[in-house]
Symmetry: C2
Subunit: 342 residues, 2 copies
């Protein structure tokens, strides 16, 4: 493999001149520049990443830490990851994907060893143990997910409060007065998934203001428990005419459950989910939903991260906490209510 020394020799100049000719950081005469570029081309020269990292203290690599525990919804994770990797590449960065169970150790490894210029943390929990480590690291960091303490880091998340309100408002406007909200299991919340509560609490609050009855239930985000949860909830609240689902697995289970119970959507039951557009498209789910845009969130996090990485000025700016507004995508699964129980 050709080094910059080979290129310099081939062009008949010194190594430093070759370097300047390639980087353009100092004026170089036109014919020397041309000779160097031709030599580099001829030798198929590519700078050694390790050497460059050592010299410049920059790796042009971003770290992406994702958690994959029982309750993480893998298809959604894929969207986040694509948002991050594609945006990073557009900005000139590669992405080191770390899925190790021990996130703290993984984070220490990639930051202390200077493998990465910055880090995106996904599935951030309220009291995430990785946060103090990231704050102490020399590289800047961005979060996807809202922790209790946002200091020292840029934070990006869906506006779950607004999502809850949008769902309730929509069905209230159609005339519904009794709703069921299906959330993720409580142990997701206990592990730090406060977003489940943020949506639920905002929905409950809005329902109270509007005089709507809202039954909040929780359940597993795996099958077949998610289907069972739906059945039990519908049994327990026979007068409910609308179903709000903040739980992908439960959305996926609904067609089968509805079929088995002989329920038509939206004639017998209005339904709104909360998930990504990709999820809906891939699985042929004909339910309206409040869109979470995981790829957009990942993309935003990377943009801000790279800003801080590349500009010393940006590194001193105040940290941001930015929410993206949920949008209701209507697929016709909501209508004016008809009493469910005959």
């Amino acid at each position: 493999m050709a080094t910059i020394g080979d290129v310099a020799q081939e062009a008949g100049v010194s190594r430093s001149t070759a370097s300047y000719a390639l980087s353009g950081k100092r004026p170089i005469s036109e014919d020397v520049r041309r000779r160097v570029l031709e030599a580099a081309e001829a030798l198929a020269y590519t700078p050694n990443a390790g050497a460059r990292a050592l010299a410049t203290a920059q790796t042009k690599v971003l770290g992406l830490l994702a958690r994959f525990h029982e309750d993480e919804f893998a298809p959604a994770m894929m969207q986040y990851i694509l948002g991050v990797t594609n945006t990073a590449r557009d900005l000139g960065y590669d992405t080191l994907l770390v899925t190790e169970a021990d996130g703290v150790r993984a984070l220490r490894r990639i930051t202390d060893s200077r493998m990465v210029d910055g880090v995106v943390l996904m599935n951030v929990a309220q009291d995430d143990a990785r946060l103090p480590v990231l704050r102490a690291a020399p590289q800047p960091g961005a979060l996807v997910g809202l922790p209790d303490d946002c200091s020292g880091l840029d934070v990006f998340d869906l506006d779950f409060e607004e999502a809850g309100r949008v769902m309730v408002d929509h069905l209230h406007r159609l005339g519904h007065r009794e709703l069921i909200l299906v959330s993720q299991p409580e142990h997701v919340v206990e592990r730090g998934g406060a977003y489940v509560w943020r949506l639920r609490d905002a929905a409950l609050e809005r329902a109270r203001q509007l005089g709507v009855t809202l039954h909040a239930v929780y359940g597993e985000s795996r099958q077949p428990a998610a289907g069972r949860l739906l059945n039990e909830s519908l049994d327990a609240h026979p007068a409910a005419t609308g179903l709000l689902i903040n739980n992908e697995a439960a959305v996926a289970a609904l067609p089968t459950v509805a079929h088995a119970r002989g329920l038509r959507v939206p004639e017998d039951l209005s339904v709104i989910g909360r998930h990504s557009a990709d999820f809906a498209a891939t699985f042929s789910l004909p339910y309206s939903f409040v869109e979470s845009a995981p790829d957009r969130l990942g993309s935003m996090a990377v943009r801000q991260l790279v800003r801080r990485v590349e500009s010393p000025a940006a590194r001193k700016e105040p940290y941001v906490v930015r929410f993206i507004s949920p949008e209701l995508v209507s697929l016709g699964s909501t209508a004016h209510p008809r009493p469910r129980s005959s």
Copy 2:
């Protein structure tokens, strides 16, 4: 950040001694070793990855190139990726995930710059343009997916022929004599997804041998086209009693389609899918399936890759083409046939 020079100074030895004490590559007296280790601990020393890569010509990073075009099924990709990243970490490697559209350029970048010690290529097409680049690269490579030319690379894939035969055999044994096989769209095949044909051809061949009628149809792997395809196929072949589905989107669409047509599974129609166990579990799909194990494939590819990376002897071994055997996971969606059309 502490360097090995700081550690050496703190321990009162030379840099080289510190290095040997930490690596154990030369005998070091007990108390010097102890002093060095204590100094490293006290200073929270972590070797600089770039410097180490430069000195050792090893990065301890593997490249993972995944394609995400219209027809790639993102949830399945996630499983592949997890199989790769988790196994890589177990073996001491981090993973650089590249999802760039221009795979050839991406591959050149990460191999020429020596960012990675080896490369796993996913979604390998028959005449994949990345293959010649990878063969010419100094790093070893492993493929997930079977191309026309396997030379110079280790190849891992599901045994799609066997998968096709297993599906046909199973329904034949139950007494079915007319089946429909739903495959992925033809343009997937044109772009190099020969596995679609491998399964189909083996299924057709086995069907012929057994005297079973098999209608092979193709369709989009997106919604709602996948559902439409199912409807059209069932309309076109009313006497078929069994459905084989090598198309995740079509599997996902089936509950809705079956519901709409008033078809009961397995009473009216026996169904076998071809996808991962994770897919079935996540989406509550109560259909028996021939399991493709994406995580296992990714894991196998990495193991072999790392063997070649780490052992010069292994690098000279003949290249392998290894298929994993499909297993039929029964979820009760097959039964003895009853004529569908009354």
